[in-house]
Symmetry: C2
Subunit: 879 residues, 2 copies
């Protein structure tokens, strides 16, 4: 395989399909040149293969001769030679990876200039000022970008020169001063590097190419890839292209243009241009640009040529394109194109519009495939409208949406301030069930500890409330917090963006959460595509959340966590009484009180989800979660002393305390230790279901046993459930009982359950994969412990490609899921299979689950639209 | 398949091989009758199939008619009829499961007697007293065993009758009184059950058979099976046999006999007999028995017949047999035989003797296969010589061996007392590294908390010191403990048996740890059998343990845990300094101090294991294990206040504290967080190895990375190790460096590592399965949390067949191991595979690992002989 391809190389497959090899920019340049025949300055691409080879073993053998051959070809095409003292060819060198990566090397322009060729350029252009300005720009660019020097070194010299020659504007600096500046810049390079500035254009070119290769592993590029989940082993391509100049004269110019509006999706050209300028001037924003439409008057022929190109690009790419172009002395050159980035609003509008385009159109499947989860997040939640000026801290992006409010450090203070009409952000180390009233009252939540499954994160996601958690640099002390020297006091305004994990000082302007009309159209298409293939349910624990989820399109509840009912302020004392009970009677009494409360909860949920399946998970968390902490009580004991009641609580808390609660007495193990508990829950659920039937409803109940590891365990628990169901139904009229069919199933959330799914399926009507716990146990990663501290290091070092708690680890956890699917179906062909871990709302994971053969995914209510879209995309991808 | 087989049924396979179906007792009776033609009273066996069918669906259809047919056949053989008022047939009914189970139903004798047939018996035997004594015994036995009545009801009536008739001895109670007593007993039964005592022998028989079936699920039987690891789904057989009477006259008698001495293994008959008595009298010990040899004088013909039978039995069973026999009026009847239980000493002697037997002999493979782990434990460790009279508590059997000493509740007090020459048992809630001096000074250790991998358990096993841990009923308070109302104070003598987990009050007599000469012979044979097939290494962390392990026959170290070196009293402050270090310099200084200490440790280990491989695991436990507890420091802070140093420790302890340390920042993750740590350890190890080579030694170093989850992770760590090895070797003479080949490998202890062993093998020269952690993560079981509380309930309820921490869970964890072996070898055919979890010392697990294809097992030093034996047995079983 060659290491280089000229833009006009006749590829066997469309260049667009070779982005792995050519990078995005190179592929698009080749597409425009070799397929569309558009006016593109000639050039060539050095492949990502060459980059990967370089990163492993240094400069690849044979690359030099290939580059030389390509340069010769380019020289022939342009009729100029690189470094020619009379009429030099100049080239640009640009990095271009498969995915666009702002963290990497920028462009080097005007490469090929040296002390001799600059004179030729001056003669050829009859513009000495232009030639020396180009030269000094090249030296400083090369110094900064290729040699890694501080840009200030050059800027200072330039300012000094302006001062010395008594001019204010850059444009007024004359040719002589610019010639001197070129000399000064070269001296700066020599001084800083100990080497003279390279005069041989071949050396310059090799230096620039190597710099691009190296930039792949630069700190910013690596961090960008981690953030954007781009694999570290792709490498980048390098594009070497003949220079054209938009700054030659009044018949020259440069611009950027979109084939339609990337902000709104409105049809018609959109963009900016500048007369007599180079591309960087447009981007830099130094001069005021003109709207693209102004080109119509100024350069009518060029404008109509450009509009023709826009139409061809849209038709060819079947999408909105983003372009860069230059006009050199009346001739239009296309420098770059790509399918353009767009806002969520625009993405929805374009996708729907393009299905009805004249001349060419996309299918509804394509439309659905083009909208991303991020697009939907943008229209569903407020966001920072601009980059905040004072970013205080970064934390984990726990619940999307942005919020502005006054910082309060205590739940009750926050609630009181909200009562007074203030917008409030609750700032606290971590939250617990006792803080819920303050969390409800707040616009957003910021915690300094905890991971993506901490109390704050889970509760906020359930409510669709913005939250940033685990912002470790935030040091809270009393009613203020300090972060990197800045102190924020109670009442100070801060802004948070829970979609990006950002915390900013002061009020940041927010975009509105405002789904356009195309939102419903597109999701309707998505639903038709995935119908009967992959259902979407929601995780919801109460009637309000269930109703909300249904509104977002959930087709049932995949996970109703009953422990959240236990943690409510009015329930906790009863739960504690049950745990402390010294006699069977006391325990039964407490359970009976809980039954009454749970029944009301279930009633509300079944009503909200009438006609749709509701999977209720029996109690899962370790009992000590319902008890106060031993540390606090012991401290109190040693200082102010404990009441009799507190002493009992301390003793129970000690008894139930565990070294590794994640692997302790929880799930079905609780049922084994406290046999009345699960029966009580099933009784409450069935009584609620009976009441719903009698009120004319259609409840569909699925009872789920958590944390199973053996068939025998599930058999025992299934017996409890079945007996209690039978007992409740025995006491109601036959026609009511007939309407209630109850499924009994289990979570598959331990590796053992996955491996032994064949046996476990003998006792299960359905499996629901608990991929959070399955991931924790398969990796031996406690989320609470490793997510803040270790995960970033692991991602940055490339020890993990992805955070396995965000996107399912296909090779490890995924294999266990696939094994369980296969074995479960081998035992029971019609077993119902779903997933209710956090991965149920992650598009890439959803695609995996569809491929693995699951029947449904379940996620938090606000994530349901995204899951509906991702499910449809998974179906499209496989069809 | 029929539900019944007569003893003389001609089975196609030897009955001995049908124990599953016939039970042990039934199979042996059939073997003696149908194969050996010995004089056995006729009878039949009801199969375990019938029992299983009964337990699932009640009395099996067709069983009644089969039993009737068998009874008819028995009646024909004996020329008597069941219930015949003139000459009745009497039968015994006995349970007999595949494995001997003392927890189950005993024997019912004399079944078939009723108000009429008792008269016939009296006439036929001309012994009215005998007949009515038999009847009243039958009624009370049936009442107790079949009907479940309290035996006291009958005993009281008997005492009253003796008093009324003014006799002292049972033998003096006359026939009239016995007849009356039979009436009284029947009235007792009627009163307690509301039903008259069954008179129809068919009803009696069916009642007895059902009682045997039911007894399979009796509480004692279930508990026994849990303890002895017998599956719950086997069921029991029932044996119905014609009665013969050893208590008819002076020419009658009964006895138990062994074909050689079960205590010492000495050749020649051994046993007891009684003239004119029934079997139960021998066992009950009411009358003084005669030694079996006395039979020679008393019944010379019978004696010589019996000796002939003994010889035939030994030749046939090729083993020592245990028999019961009865002489009825001069005729010898064999009632039962089985391969006899024996002590460890006897087992070793017999196994070796029988390879040299005249006439018949066993092979060395058979000899090796016959000695069990328990046998070796008996000769390797002291044991309770008898059942203790006051058993205080049961805990977990953490480290085998028994000890007697005065209870001390504090490590320093224990050490001081030992200094004064007292034998000491350290009693404490749990131990920590700070208690080590007291543990060393003690004869044994008793803790009230912690599981089989708690600090106390691991350390004690390493030293071969008796330990009972997690004795939850022991409530320690200051310098005393209370258990079920008994209080033991400091200085009181207690005894513990760490092989059985027993704690007794006072001094219990102990057997000696005293391996006979056959021990070395047999293990030598075992070694030859397993040579080149399955090696045995030891887990040892210091020179003394390594030397000890080598003496026990270890062929290397499979796991050297470096954290134990960190926990030593003089090291801990340095470790803490490293953790607290605020600058890179401070950290480097602390690491340097640790390097010096570790090098000395490694030197001692490599010297002790010279020429054998030593696998050193780099630091594994979470850092907070080296810090004081936050609870204690916070308490101190709130009360007496903290020093500056302590305040720093508290802050570090808080920083490193984890919710689930088992799944937290440990293993290779530590290496990622503290990059200098692993390099320091490897440097120390390699410097020690260099020193050994220079001293003429032959160190064989294997470096092991713990807790790997991805290939990338291991690749990174392998790089650190390889670089450090290269760096050390670069500084020594070439001929020294050439002698040092270092293997680099990893633990496979997370489910992910097992599943992705193919990738991980790319970076690993060897795998060592950490089956402790693998079991914890596969099940989601934290040993510390579930082993005390939950495991017993799970075993008793049959939710688990075995404690997966003792014997590997073949279906779940085992499948992951097998997957990893297959995938690891697919990548690297010659990868070395071992296991260093606790399962490495468990015979059944060792057999699994051999079948799975591992190259070695590694276990604690004192367990090495057992592992050598078990490894050989695994080889024999597969060959």
């Amino acid at each position: 395989m060659p290491f280089t391809y000229s833009f006009d190389h006749k590829h066997r497959r469309p260049p667009m399909e070779r982005k792995d090899l050519l990078g995005g920019k190179g592929a698009n340049l080749a597409e425009m040149t070799s397929v569309l025949g558009l006016p593109v300055p000639p050039g060539f691409t050095i492949t990502t293969d060459a980059c990967r080879a370089y990163l492993v073993g240094g400069w690849p053998g044979g690359l030099d001769s290939e580059v030389t051959r390509q340069v010769r070809k380019l020289e022939r095409a342009m009729g100029k030679r690189l470094g020619d003292p009379s009429d030099p060819l100049l080239v640009s060198v640009r990095s271009g990876a498969k995915f666009s990566m702002p963290g990497m090397m920028d462009t080097v322009l005007n490469l090929g200039l040296n002390d001799e060729s600059v004179k030729g350029l001056a003669v050829q252009t009859s513009d000495e000022r232009f030639a020396y300005d180009s030269y000094r720009r090249f030296v400083s660019m090369y110094g900064r970008i290729v040699l890694g020097l501080d840009g200030k070194l050059f800027d200072e010299s330039f300012e000094e020169a302006k001062e010395r020659s008594g001019v204010d504007s850059d444009a007024d600096v004359g040719a002589d001063v610019l010639r001197e500046l070129a000399e000064t810049y070269k001296a700066v390079v020599a001084g800083a590097t100990g080497q003279p500035f390279p005069q041989d254009p071949a050396d310059q070119l090799r230096g620039a190419i190597e710099a691009v290769f190296r930039s792949w592993n630069g700190a910013r590029a690596v961090a960008y890839r981690v953030r954007e989940r781009i694999p570290h082993d792709l490498g980048t391509a390098v594009n070497v292209q003949a220079m054209v100049f938009g700054n030659r004269d009044g018949k020259s110019g440069t611009g950027v243009g979109f084939t339609r509006d990337p902000a709104t999706g409105a049809q018609g050209e959109y963009g900016d241009f500048l007369v007599n300028a180079q591309g960087e001037d447009v981007v830099a924003g130094i001069r005021n640009t003109l709207p693209l439409s102004a080109l119509r008057d100024r350069f009518p022929k060029i404008f109509s040529e450009l509009m023709g190109i826009f139409a061809r690009l849209e038709e060819h790419y079947r999408d909105m394109c983003d372009t860069e172009f230059t006009i050199e002395q009346g001739k239009l050159w296309m420098l770059q194109t790509r399918v353009g980035k767009r806002t969520g609003r625009a993405a929805l509008r374009m996708a729907v519009d393009m299905t009805k385009q004249r001349g060419w159109k996309i299918t509804r499947e394509e439309a659905v495939a083009r909208v991303t989860a991020e697009h939907l997040d943008q229209v569903l939640h407020p966001q920072f409208a601009e980059k905040p000026s004072t970013l205080l801290a970064k934390g984990l992006a726990a619940s999307p949406g942005a919020a502005v409010g006054k910082a309060y450090f205590d739940a009750s203070d926050a609630a009181a301030a909200a009562e007074r009409g203030e917008a409030v952000i609750l700032v606290t180390t971590e939250t617990s069930p006792e803080d819920v009233h303050g969390m409800i009252a707040s616009q957003g939540i910021l915690t300094s500890r905890g991971g993506l499954v901490s109390h704050a994160a889970v509760v906020a996601r359930g409510w669709g409330k913005p939250a940033v958690v685990g912002a470790e640099s935030v040091r809270i002390s009393g009613t203020s917090f300090t972060v990197n020297g800045t102190t924020v006091r109670e009442g100070d305004v801060i802004s948070i963006d829970g979609g990006g994990g950002e915390v900013a000082l002061g009020e940041v302007a927010l975009t509105l959460a405002d789904p356009p009309e195309e939102f419903a159209v597109l999701l309707g298409w998505a639903d038709r595509i995935r119908k009967g293939k992959l259902a979407v349910r929601a995780n919801a624990d109460n009637g309000a959340d269930a109703a909300n989820a249904r509104q977002f399109g959930a087709e049932g509840i995949g996970l109703c966590r009953t422990e959240h009912m236990f943690l409510a302020e009015d329930r906790l004392p009863i739960v504690r009484r049950m745990i402390l009970a010294s006699t069977a009677d006391d325990e039964r009494d407490a359970l009976e009180e809980l039954r009454v409360a749970q029944k009301a909860d279930f009633l509300a949920i079944l009503e909200a989800m009438d006609g749709l399946p509701v999977t209720v998970r029996l109690l899962d968390p370790p009992l000590h979660e319902f008890l106060p902490s031993t540390e606090e009580l012991e401290l109190e004991d040693a200082t102010t002393g404990l009441s009799e009641e507190e002493r009992k609580l301390l003793s129970a808390a000690k008894e139930w305390k565990e070294s590794n609660p994640m692997l302790g007495t929880r799930g079905v193990r609780l049922g084994v230790m406290k046999p009345g508990l699960y029966q009580m829950q099933v009784r409450a659920l069935m009584q609620a279901a009976v009441e719903r039937v009698e009120a004319g409803g259609k409840p569909r109940v699925e009872v789920m046993i958590p944390l199973t590891v053996t068939r025998q365990e599930l058999g025992l628990a299934r017996g409890w459930v079945a007996d209690t169901v039978a007992e409740v139904l025995a006491g109601v009229p036959k026609r009511t009982a007939r309407k209630l069919e109850v499924l009994i199933g289990t979570m598959i959330e331990t590796p053992r359950a996955a491996v032994r799914a064949d046996e476990i399926a003998e006792e299960a009507d359905f499996f629901s994969f608990g991929t959070n716990d399955l991931t924790q146990m398969t990796f031996g990663f406690s989320r609470d412990d490793v997510e803040g501290r270790l995960m970033n290091a692991y991602l940055e070092l490339g020890l993990l490609q992805r955070n396995p708690f965000e996107t399912i680890d296909k090779a490890g956890v995924g294999e266990l899921v696939a094994t369980a699917v296969e074995r479960g179906r081998a035992t029971r062909a019609n077993i119902k299979l779903g997933i209710c871990g956090e991965h149920g709302g992650d598009p890439e994971s959803i695609a995996f689950f569809y491929d693995a053969g699951l029947d449904y995914v379940s996620c938090s209510p606000y994530r349901v639209p995204i899951a509906r879209l991702a499910a449809a995309q998974a179906v499209v991808a496989r069809s």
